[in-house]
Symmetry: C3
Subunit: 330 residues, 3 copies
């Protein structure tokens, strides 16, 4: 596709395990996706937006079962997957909190749990507190595994819905400027997003954050290597009028535990409010992975450029698309 950098894909693909191609076997990590597979997934997601109640499309997964195996609660993500499955006519086997999962308590390995559950479900959506769990589950599984977040590790469907939202809102994934704001050090969301956007040409990234939670060096080195232009900025107001996308994240107080004054100072400089919206270009959009606390004030919600609830909704279409691709293969 136009705007995709040459060369990147083939080398990367060589090192990738088999689920890194379409049709999808598993959805494990953001890095498994390349521009062409993203294109394909987003094309299906777009079709999903048009699935009408009562239509044959709305029954395409009738007879299929999806298990949501959640070792820690994440109501938002779980309901999003379960909605996606039921909107395509499929059935859901749910676990709200398998942390109490009796077999785990007895010492069963994740691999054994997966081999058992796959006897009951055609696809397993896994949420786990430990990084690498999804990959481990996929190695044991005969059915598709979709990673719904594994601790500090990956949350690939969030990354996909973020990129899909940019495409839907701007109409393109190249030649645009994005400001990533807030806690860039700990957020897997912004890290994944920067990684994926680096595959497209003409994307300029501004990293807007307090010193203490700056974007980490590994991502910055990767961007430089990929010839992506990036810049670190201290004050949100400096770049507000520049960007096409403002991706806000929450700064957690815990990060500043030794210096509460710095926290208050930091917070004030990174809040998106009505005044800041006036700086923003008319076509620019504000995104946020949610939940939001006070880093975007509620007065912004009514602004058509506030895209965060549309973004959450896009999660539904992305997950419908992934379920279709994993279960039907096309």
């Amino acid at each position: 596709a136009g705007g995709v950098k040459a060369g990147g894909r083939s080398t990367a693909a060589a090192a990738h395990p088999p689920w890194h191609t379409l049709p999808l076997k598993h959805v494990i990590e953001s890095q498994q996706f390349q521009p062409d597979s993203l294109d394909a997934i987003f094309g299906v997601a777009r079709q999903m937006e048009a699935v009408a109640r009562g239509s044959p499309e709305s029954r395409m997964l009738a007879g299929y079962n999806m298990a949501t195996l959640f070792y820690e609660p994440s109501t938002r993500t779980r309901l999003s997957f379960e909605s996606a499955m039921t909107r395509l006519g499929g059935a859901v086997l749910t676990t709200e909190s398998a942390g109490e999962y009796s077999s785990a308590a007895k010492g069963e390995t994740l691999e054994d749990t997966i081999r058992t559950i796959e006897g009951y479900a055609d696809l397993i959506v896994l949420r786990h507190f430990q990084a690498g769990s999804a990959k481990k589950a996929a190695s044991a599984a005969a059915v598709p595994i979709i990673n719904a977040g594994d601790g500090p590790g990956q949350h690939p469907t969030q990354a996909l819905l973020d990129v899909y939202t940019i495409q839907r809102e701007l109409g393109r994934l190249r030649d645009f400027k994005i400001g990533m704001v807030g806690d860039l050090s700990n957020g897997r969301t912004v890290r994944s997003l920067a990684f994926i956007l680096a595959m497209y040409s003409g994307v300029k990234m501004y990293f807007v954050s307090p010193e203490i939670v700056k974007m980490k060096d590994d991502i910055k080195a990767h961007l430089t290597e990929e010839e992506v232009t990036w810049e670190e900025v201290d004050d949100l107001r400096e770049v507000a009028h520049e960007v096409d996308v403002l991706y806000q994240t929450r700064i957690q107080k815990e990060r500043f535990q030794d210096r509460p004054d710095d926290y208050e100072l930091a917070k004030g400089k990174y809040i998106i409010d009505g005044a800041l919206m006036k700086e923003l270009q008319p076509h620019a959009v504000v995104m946020h992975p949610l939940p939001r606390v006070d880093e975007i004030t509620t007065e912004v919600d009514a602004d058509p450029r506030a895209a965060y609830f549309r973004q959450a909704r896009n999660g539904l279409y992305i997950r419908m698309a992934l379920l279709k691709l994993c279960l039907l293969g096309h």
Copy 2:
């Protein structure tokens, strides 16, 4: 309808928010219903009793999703709603205990949660520990909200099923005598029931309770204003032979914490047992919102006048009716 007091509706309706009319937008509080909307809902509930397995009616909500967002567990109420939805062919997204809801823990407002969940569900059934939560949710929601109890606040579907049960058991909602028994001070059930029945003519109410948990003055003042005849009675046996409906509730020991002797004394005077059933008229019925502990002895269960399990079952038909009215609009 005959037996409805004149004048009440129009003035009341003027002060009401828009969901107070049919077709239903939201189900938030008992006071939103007037005799004509009750009539309409009960008419649909009656149709729901006749929905046969495999019939087209049993698929009328196919393609619709209902989320049960429960911030505190209430298995009975949740299963009743989920049964109602599945019996009409709809799908369910369930949360058994969103108290652990991760976003809430992170400081997300209820309004934001609702705006996110409504991206996944066509209707939200909300159970919350805080009074006023349902109204707050409705103010933010684009999809219908049904209040499944908000703490000490409202539990309107319980009120509806109570009134529906009286109509089904007696064949009318006017010209009858009801004894409300037990803890009349803290039970939102009996308070709502008294409020709704005050809209019908010829209803005589006996409040049968220990001194310490008497019906509160606000309800009594309202009844007097509405020219409803009511009377406070100390001993259940005084009115047992008089009433058409005996509505029993549980007296919680906690209310008597300073005076355990009074509790034992009080309890004994308000128990419905085989002996008391002999006092009851042949056509009278015994109701209870359940769960019951020992305030109705199990020997009463086999008596055809014991209506409490039929009453619980009526909750299913009322909820089916509300889901139909909220989602299909008629």
Copy 3:
């Protein structure tokens, strides 16, 4: 059927409550099943293996509701039942942990809970921490109750899937040798299995366990009375080459609390590993109720004689069969 002992059935049946015949009313305890009812159930289970996605058979329970009322979590068993129900087109009302069940906390009896839930569900799958709960529930219920484990009591669907697995793996339920290994004293699984297999002729049982967790005398006395040949063995290697079925169970460290050295010694002697598999006959199979910890090493998993994940999968077919028999009556 051939291989079934004469005489046993009629006497036993005489003492049995009405659910002990086909069509099934309830599924409460292993002892309710006789060879002819097992034959019938296994015949249906076999048909269930062939139910194809999208076929009319896969919709046979459309319009039916099943409630899983679990007072303690058991994700494996719950998902197995819920999968069975959805694979036949039925709907599921789920409770992951009714331990927090508010009505129970308020002092409601199990009988009252059942009478309420049966207003919402066509069948109730009950998991309870107290022995005898399923029988108590069945005595109150108008809808079928399936016992999914009641504490130290019964877990009949596990017993059925174990016996079904032997029939599927060996092709018969008579004239074979089984070694039951591990904790034979506390495991309800092996006790039920021994009890059921005693109804078939030519079954030789080896009980392979440390002294401290030997098979209890009541079962041994019953087997002797039924003229079943049984033998107690101290070392697994003694019988590995003899048996057609090796049924492994987990030895819990807690049982040896006073003598940790004995535990280590015991454990080593009862592990099934690659070396032991070499002793096993080519047609023999290894079973385990799961979860497994280290009493079967993972190197065994790839051996075609490792039947334990197939056994877990058979639980699905058995439960589909029981749902069909309980709800449709044939």
